[in-house]
């Protein structure tokens, strides 16, 4: 299959992730969008590894997956705690770091 196809799909996924982060206010959707961006990058890694026959990209994908898993655990814990303290999942309300 043409490599270009995977590039377009990956770019679309990434754009959906960015727009999700920018537009959505729900913390969980926000979080999902970030995962989407990560996986867009993963897809590109795999596609290029296949194209050039080089396994380095595959190894990178595993790293990203591991880090994403850890990040998901920490991130979800943060969101749950924020929800417990504020009873809100709206990220716009989490603005105590205002300058």
């Amino acid at each position: 299959m043409d490599i270009l196809f995977f590039i377009y799909i990956s770019m679309a996924m990434f754009a959906v992730g960015v727009i999700g982060v920018l537009v959505k206010r729900n913390a969980l959707i926000f979080f999902l969008s970030i995962e989407l961006m990560l996986n867009a990058a993963n897809l590109l890694f795999v596609a290029f590894a296949r194209q050039w026959g080089n396994e380095t990209g595959l190894v990178w994908v595993f790293f990203v997956l591991v880090v994403a898993a850890a990040e998901a655990a920490v991130g979800l814990a943060l969101i749950i705690n924020l929800f417990r303290s504020k009873q809100i999942v709206d990220v716009d309300q989490y603005n105590v770091l205002k300058g």
Partner: protein, 623 residues
């Protein structure tokens, strides 16, 4: 030998640092002990050097300590130069300094800031020793400024008294004018000789310049301007009478015996250079004689005991410069030595009175104090007679030598000025003694009962100085032999002119005139103040105000400067200086407020900024 020099020089500095940093920890008794002991040890060091010198016929020696400023063209080293002249000065400084430290324990007893006083006094000893021991003119200048600083700190010791604070500032500012001349002369020296080593300069000057070379004349004159400020010569004499606001031992040590003689020392130290510039020497002689007469006239009319002594100091310093001006450097140094003894004695004796009368120095409210100060009155009398030039007390020999030398040098007018001054000296000292100790008392009854003689820690050092004032003249007088002081100083090359090593006292017409004149003046003053005191009005205002020189300076310099300063504070300072600073501050603040808007705390907006940034980065990298 080097260790003795270094110990003697730096021990007062160590003591100063210690007292400054530990002033709250150690007690008063220990403070006084440390301060006195450091100066005493210093005195012992220099005494041992004197012993080595006289016994081993040692030559003058330069001690190189380290490269101080290794810049080509300046190249000043930290060198100490030991010769009989420096040794004589160190002995005067540490010897009289020790006695005055001891005296101060009694004088300053009731003050809060006991340690600060002694620390400053120790610092003064260090700076003055540095000044006289310096082998390099730049190092000498460092000591020169150090003693100025010590003088400022000690004159303003009672800083909460406005008069004292003002006097300290005045002393400092007037000295800056003289120091300006010194500094220019210093730069000229480096420009001409490429070094500040005094021995180099004095050795090479004769090869480089003919007698009376204009550049050299300028240089020596500028050095003399510095000496004028430090030694309170006309027209920079205004600070010394005001400096009497300081504690009396300070006046004795700094403003009579040692610091004010630094100018004389400088001229004598550079005498090889001065001898090549007859014009400068002539100016020095004229200014010295004029100052001597001027200050003696002013002293006639002062009602403040300490101010009489201050003007008398200025007058005697004028004598020293007169001696230097006619080339009799040895006579100047001799007078410096005897004057240090006598004037320290007079100041400390006056200090006894001042201290026991709780700071009152006005002779209008004294009189008849002989009943109370039964010891001090004799001590003061010895000092007064010595200063009046009655043989065989100390000043007689030195003053006589100066007058004789001036006469021999052929300056008739200067000689008669000196003679008149010496007669006036006898007059005003008798007046001061009479108004203070004799006659009817003008004290209030209740004060009389409280006042008593000073304690023995104060009378002791004064007695020692009195002994020195009596026998000090014999340093320069020996029966049929070369006087000890002259043979000691002969190595420096400042023996009497004409290479006749016989500074011995010769009974001449000048001697007769000055002695008889002094005796007559004493008799006259005694008669006037004992019999006709009622008929005398207030002292002549023009003399009391020192010919209104202070007022003239106020009119010519101080007030215009104050006017300019007030204009600046009113117009330039708020708009330009403060305005620009405030504008900078406000501008920064406004920018910060504007940038602050970005820190909204909204995560999504941060992400948006990040996305924009990344997009721009990609665009930048792509094209």
């Amino acid at each position: 030998m080097l260790y003795a020099v270094l110990l003697g020089l730096f021990l007062p500095l160590v003591s100063f640092l210690g007292l400054m940093s530990a002033s709250n920890i150690i007690g008063r008794r220990l403070t006084g002990f440390i301060a006195c002991a450091s100066v005493l040890i210093s005195f012992v060091c220099f005494s041992s050097l004197l012993w080595i010198y006289t016994n081993t016929q040692m030559q003058p020696q330069t001690f190189f300590i380290y490269h101080w400023i290794p810049v080509s063209g300046i190249d000043a080293d930290f060198t100490l130069y030991i010769d009989p002249l420096a040794l004589l000065m160190t002995l005067i400084i540490t010897g009289i300094g020790f006695l005055i430290h001891l005296y101060s324990i009694g004088y300053i007893e009731h003050e809060e800031d006991f340690a600060r006083y002694f620390a400053c006094l120790n610092f003064f000893i260090f700076a003055m020793l540095l000044l006289v021991l310096a082998g390099n003119l730049l190092l000498l200048f460092a000591g020169w400024e150090g003693v100025g600083l010590a003088s400022y700190l000690l004159v303003g010791y009672w800083y909460h008294r406005p008069a004292a604070a003002q006097a300290a500032t005045k002393a400092f500012v007037v000295n800056r004018i003289g120091d300006c001349g010194f500094l220019i002369a210093l730069l000229l020296t480096f420009q001409i000789f490429g070094t500040g080593e005094i021995t180099d300069v004095t050795q090479r000057v004769a090869q480089l310049f003919a007698i009376g070379a204009p550049l050299l004349t300028l240089m020596t004159f500028l050095y003399f301007v510095g000496a004028m400020g430090k030694s309170a010569q006309l027209p920079l004499q205004v600070w010394l009478p005001d400096a009497m606001e300081g504690p009396t031992p300070v006046s004795a040590l700094i403003h009579a015996a040692t610091m004010v003689t630094a100018g004389v020392y400088l001229v004598v130290r550079m005498h090889d250079v001065y001898l090549l510039t007859p014009l400068t020497l002539y100016i020095i002689a004229i200014i010295g004689a004029a100052t001597a007469l001027f200050a003696a006239l002013c002293a006639l009319a002062q009602t403040d005991l300490k101010r009489v002594l201050a003007y008398s100091t200025i007058s005697q310093l004028g004598y020293m410069f007169l001696a230097c001006g006619v080339g009799a450097f040895y006579a100047g140094m001799f007078h410096l030595t005897t004057h240090a003894f006598v004037k320290a004695l007079l100041f400390l004796a006056a200090g006894n009175v001042v201290h026991m009368m709780h700071g009152s120095t006005n002779m209008d409210y004294m009189g008849g104090l002989w009943k109370i100060f039964f010891k001090t009155r004799w001590l003061f009398l010895i000092g007064a007679i010595a200063l009046a030039g009655i043989p065989p007390l100390a000043i007689f020999f030195s003053k006589d030598l100066i007058l004789e030398q001036v006469h021999h040098a052929g300056y008739e007018l200067l000689f008669y000025t000196g003679l008149l001054t010496s007669i006036l000296t006898a007059f005003y000292m008798t007046r001061a003694y009479y108004l203070t100790f004799l006659g009817k008392t003008r004290l209030e009854e209740k004060i009389i009962k409280v006042v008593e003689e000073a304690p023995s820690i104060m009378t002791g050092p004064v007695t020692a100085l009195a002994v020195l004032s009596i026998i000090g003249g014999f340093l320069g007088y020996a029966f049929g032999a070369m006087p000890p002081l002259e043979s000691f100083l002969h190595k420096v090359g400042i023996g009497l002119p004409g290479n006749q090593p016989s500074g011995n006292f010769v009974f001449t017409l000048e001697t007769l005139a000055s002695t008889v004149g002094a005796l007559l003046a004493i008799a006259l003053a005694y008669t006037i103040y004992s019999k006709y005191a009622q008929r005398l009005g207030a002292p002549l205002q023009v003399l009391k105000k020192a010919f209104y020189i202070d007022q003239i300076y106020d009119l010519l310099f101080v007030n215009p400067l104050k006017f300019v300063a007030s204009l600046i504070t009113r117009f330039i300072e708020p708009k330009m200086i403060e305005g620009s600073i405030l504008a900078t501050a406000h501008g920064t603040q406004k920018t910060a407020r504007w940038l602050q808007q970005m820190q909204s705390g909204q995560i999504r907006s941060y992400v948006a900024w990040m996305a924009i940034g990344m997009a721009l980065l990609i665009v930048y990298m792509a094209f």
